[in-house]
């Protein structure tokens, strides 16, 4: 199946952002994921043609970065931070209870295609540990129960909003489109900062 004329136009606009076309390989891969849900052969072949690099060179890039998937992600891709600090603070317990709850393992997707899970490394939110990312949106200060509730709600089509993110959780494909640089207009939704971020400031201002 070919990409649509509209999609090819968007690819061209992504390429046009860079002084040299090859730089567009990463956003194009994010874009392919936003359409196909993972890095498909047709995506690799299209990028290869567009950027005039070999399919092997595109594969070299797509397999290097962990966000690019070789198999479809769930509509809600749940990443549980299991790097030291989050693991110690509860990430391990969260991950164990989540795999029990869903009956799937790392990098697997539930049969309904709704939820996939991944053990992720530090996601730069340590003051909110334990952290869970859903479609790469922050879910701060999680517990095993809160994450079970989260995936249940997501599978029912009603996921809670991210802690620091837009008012409603977007799908994995939709967020892949954002990473390709296509605005969804939601930047102004959500808080400026979570409470821990403001702690020092509030103390300095005598508010705490």
């Amino acid at each position: 199946m070919e990409f649509t004329v509209e999609q090819v136009k968007i690819m061209d606009s992504i390429i046009a952002r860079y002084p040299r076309s090859r730089s567009a390989v990463m956003p194009l891969l994010h874009y392919v994921q936003s359409i196909d849900g993972y890095i498909t052969p047709r995506g690799i072949e299209k990028i290869s043609k567009k950027l005039e690099i070999s399919t092997a060179e595109v594969t070299a890039v797509s397999t290097f970065y962990t966000q690019y998937r070789s198999e479809p992600a769930g509509e809600y891709h749940v990443g549980v931070c299991i790097n030291t600090l989050c693991a110690v603070m509860g990430g391990d317990a969260i991950y164990d209870s989540l795999t029990d709850h869903l009956g799937i393992e790392n990098h697997e997707t539930t049969k309904d295609g709704k939820v996939s899970i991944e053990r992720i490394e530090c996601n730069a939110a340590c003051d909110f540990a334990p952290v869970v990312m859903v479609n790469w949106e922050f879910y701060d200060n999680q517990t095993p129960q809160s994450v079970k509730d989260l995936v249940d709600a997501a599978r029912a089509g009603n996921p809670p909003a991210p802690t620091r993110g837009p008012n409603t959780l977007r799908t994995w494909k939709q967020n892949s489109e954002v990473l390709a640089g296509l605005s969804d207009g939601l930047a102004n939704e959500g808080v400026s900062a979570g409470e821990p971020t403001l702690l020092g400031l509030k103390i300095a201002k005598g508010e705490k």
Binding site: E45, S54, E57
Partner: protein, 779 residues
């Protein structure tokens, strides 16, 4: 290019640097890497990723050494393959620094923890840098107690290259070669960290014309050639330096023999020609030697019309009887060595008393005959000129397909300094794309050439009347250097050997009486024929109309010349000197078996005009070189040519020397505009490197990487024809037709290009010509 080579090439003074390595001083040009400066002292620092012809990577870390400069020591060991020498540098290798020694041992241990202990069944065992350096640098016993990493093994990354990933040390030599040298990044590193591996994109195999080099430079047994896998142990092989017979690039080769059988061929090392590379055809196309079609004994056609085995005396007697006193010509193909071509030349003049001899088993023209006997004879343009060129012009020449090492040399400069390349091809081939070649439709469009420019003319330029003359004029006008690069290995040498109607050996013009006298004296004959000789097509015509009675023919595939060449032989007495049974042996009256390159000694002249001598690789071969057979035949005829051995022939050629009298003048031709009109399209073609050429017979793994034939047309022509990429079109001439899938390229609407001799696209057989007007419709 190494700094030493840079020094040679520029002749400019290069700053010299003196460093101390393990207490010994060594002075090397600025820019020399520490690892190479150490080599000069005979100090071998272990290494895997380092390769002198590839950009430094610093990846394997095996070459760590201690360095201090101006008394200041680096806080940690440095990779000697990435650090250039500096004044006041003191280097301590594993020989004098315990830190370097431990660092190297540590790296070796890391490399081995995941390396399988399958050396006993690994092709590389016995010639393996990892094996050798593990002995010199590693620990006696591993401290690793875990389970080694495994991968599915082996995977075929092409039909001719297999990959055993668990053996790989990820030095990236293969991927760097593919990208930096060949411009074919079809294998890359994929995944990352401990799972990083070499790989391809799943749907695109490693079909580079140069893929075999990655097998050769792999420092472990990760990449192996399908055809050689499990066939031999290196220590059972005898290696012979050789030269490649497949094209005029002139590659130095190494042929590895075990008990009289060729097991493999490798690129030899010649920095002025092929550096350390060769193409896959040169590496893997040698199975024709052991083909079932091999002619093993002389044969004579009997009264029953069949060929029968005969003894040599019988065969010589039969052949001599058919030739003696008859009007006979000589056709010799492009595989002939200098010595063989000389043999054919002398045989024609002395034994047959004729100038009817031509080495061009392909389309040719009078304009070309004149060009070859005048200008081409004395051309001295070389690889070095390409290295220094400001522009390279390709006329009737696709270097990647027709002279792959010339391609590598141009690509090197394109990559290094964006050398400008101009081509007269009708569309941008993959090679042209890699060279970023600018396409022109007419030679007259080319401007801006200087004395530093190089014009590379292929043999196909002669197919367009006047084009050779335009090229010559362009070179004369601009001072640009001209080179003629034939496709076959033997063609340049055939000119100097006089295997052409207009020239006697050493460039002596047939038309020049003093040249004839000079040669007659040297050959101790009364006189030499003075009447003008015929070219290939004229000889064939004369045979067919019985103006000639007989022909001596060696290494010719009639379908390379024309669709009726074979039938033109039918009415005459045919003496065939051949390696394998062919269309010619099928109609020959006498077949005399001859040796292939590996079985004989001799030399070729590469396109530069340089001699590429080689020795017999199979010492006890019973096959004989063409020249020796011709000499015995001449004896039988009573008109000896006295060339009993290749060595004797070489001595005679050398003693004869070059003609220093007046030379033949080039007679230029005016170009004929030959553009298609109406619904007709101009068809052009050239041969792909891997195709149906007979010297590639019997090597299926190599053939598996040949490009699939397709016809290239413009997008708007495809729209007009109502065909999409991959759909079939029918291409027809007055003679016949062929069907091919369509490929769309940026080209003129009136042009169509097809491969000349590939599966499904044998142009001479199907269309009756190599270029001309055709009718194209959707099939």
């Amino acid at each position: 290019m190494t700094p030493e080579q840079a020094l040679l090439e520029t002749q400019a003074p290069v700053e010299m640097i003196t460093v101390v390595i393990d207490g010994f001083e060594v002075t090397v040009p600025k820019g020399t890497l520490v690892i190479r400066a150490a080599e000069k002292l005979g100090i071998q620092i272990p290494r895997f990723c380092d390769h002198p012809l590839l950009e430094p990577a610093g990846a394997c870390r095996q070459c760590l050494v201690d360095i201090e400069i101006n008394g200041r020591a680096f806080p940690k060991p440095q990779a000697s393959c990435t650090i250039p020498v500096e004044n006041n540098m003191i280097v301590k290798t594993q020989l004098t620094s315990p830190v370097a020694e431990k660092a190297q041992a540590g790296i070796m241990e890391f490399l081995l923890i995941n390396h399988p202990l399958d050396c006993p069944v690994c092709d590389k065992g016995g010639e393996c840098p990892l094996q050798n350096q593990a002995m010199s640098t590693g620990r006696p016993e591993s401290r690793y107690e875990g389970v080694k990493r495994t991968f599915e093994k082996p995977i075929a990354i092409s039909s001719q290259v297999l990959l055993d990933r668990e053996r790989c040390v990820l030095c990236a030599r293969c991927t760097r070669f593919s990208e930096q040298i060949a411009g074919d990044p079809f294998i890359t590193l994929i995944d990352r960290g401990a799972l990083q591996q070499v790989g391809i994109y799943e749907n695109d195999p490693f079909e580079s014309y140069y893929s075999g080099n990655t097998v050769q430079i792999c420092p472990v047994g990760a990449l192996t050639g399908t055809s050689y896998r499990f066939r031999a142990r290196p220590f059972d092989l005898v290696s012979i330096d050789s030269a490649c017979e497949h094209c005029a690039s002139g590659c130095a080769m190494r042929t590895d023999i075990r008990r009289g059988k060729t097991l493999r061929r490798l690129a030899g090392d010649d920095s002025s020609v092929n550096e350390e590379w060769n193409c896959d055809k040169g590496r893997w196309a040698f199975k024709y030697l052991t083909s079932r079609e091999r002619v093993t004994t002389p044969m004579i056609r009997g009264a029953d019309g069949e060929l029968h085995e005969a003894s040599w005396p019988e065969a010589f007697a039969f052949a001599a009887a058919g030739l003696k006193g008859k009007r006979a010509g000589v056709l010799v193909g492009g595989r002939a060595t200098v010595e063989d071509a000389y043999g054919y030349s002398k045989f024609a003049r002395v034994a047959l008393g004729t100038n009817d001899i031509d080495f061009r088993a392909r389309p040719h023209s009078d304009e070309e005959t004149s060009f070859l006997s005048s200008i081409a004879l004395g051309l001295t343009t070389s690889y070095k000129d390409i290295d220094k060129a400001d522009q390279v012009v390709l006329l009737g020449f696709e270097p990647e397909e027709e002279s792959p090492i010339v391609f590598l040399r141009i690509y090197k400069q394109v990559r290094k300094r964006a050398l400008a390349v101009i081509s007269d091809a009708p569309f941008a081939s993959r090679g042209s794309v890699k060279l970023s070649a600018k396409l022109v439709t007419e030679i007259s469009e080319i401007s801006g050439l200087t004395a530093k420019s190089v014009i590379l003319v292929g043999e196909r330029l002669s197919e367009k009347t006047g084009a050779l003359s335009s090229a010559v004029a362009l070179a004369e006008k601009t001072g640009a250097k001209l080179a003629w690069i034939p496709r076959r290995a033997g063609e340049r040498g055939a000119i100097t050997s006089g295997a052409i109607s207009t020239l006697l050996p050493g460039g002596r013009p047939v038309s020049d009486a003093s040249a004839r006298v000079d040669l007659a004296a040297a050959w101790s004959v009364d006189s030499l024929p003075s009447n003008p000789g015929r070219a290939t097509s004229e000889i064939l015509l004369a045979l067919s109309v019985k103006n000639l009675d007989a022909v001596v023919i060696g290494g010719v595939d009639p379908l390379d010349i024309s669709n009726n060449a074979l039938s033109q032989l039918l009415n005459s007495f045919v003496v065939s000197l051949e390696i394998t049974h062919s269309a010619v042996t099928a109609v020959a009256d006498v077949v005399l078996p001859v040796a292939a390159v590996i079985e004989k000694s001799g030399s070729f002249q590469d396109w530069q005009g340089s001699a590429r001598a080689f020795d017999k690789a199979i010492a006890d071969s019973l096959s004989r070189s063409d020249v020796r057979i011709l000499s015995m035949l001449a004896d039988e005829m009573g008109t000896p040519i006295n060339l009993p051995t290749v060595a004797a022939t070489a001595r005679e050629i050398s003693a004869l020397g070059k003609w220093d009298g007046s030379a033949v003048k080039f007679e230029s031709a005016t170009s004929v505009k030959d553009s298609a009109t109406g619904d007709k399209l101009n068809l052009t073609s050239w041969r792909l490197l891997l195709d149906l050429g007979t010297l590639q017979d019997g090597e299926a793994n190599l053939a598996g990487t040949a490009r699939t034939a397709s016809a290239h047309i413009s997008n708007s022509r495809a729209l007009k024809l109502g065909v999409k990429v991959g759909e079939l079109i029918s291409i027809s001439s007055d003679f016949g037709s062929l069907e091919l899938p369509v490929e769309i390229s940026e080209m003129s609407d009136n042009e169509i290009w097809v491969p000349r001799n590939s599966i499904g696209s044998q142009v001479i057989a199907s269309l009756g010509f190599v270029s001309g007007q055709v009718t194209v419709v959707k099939a």
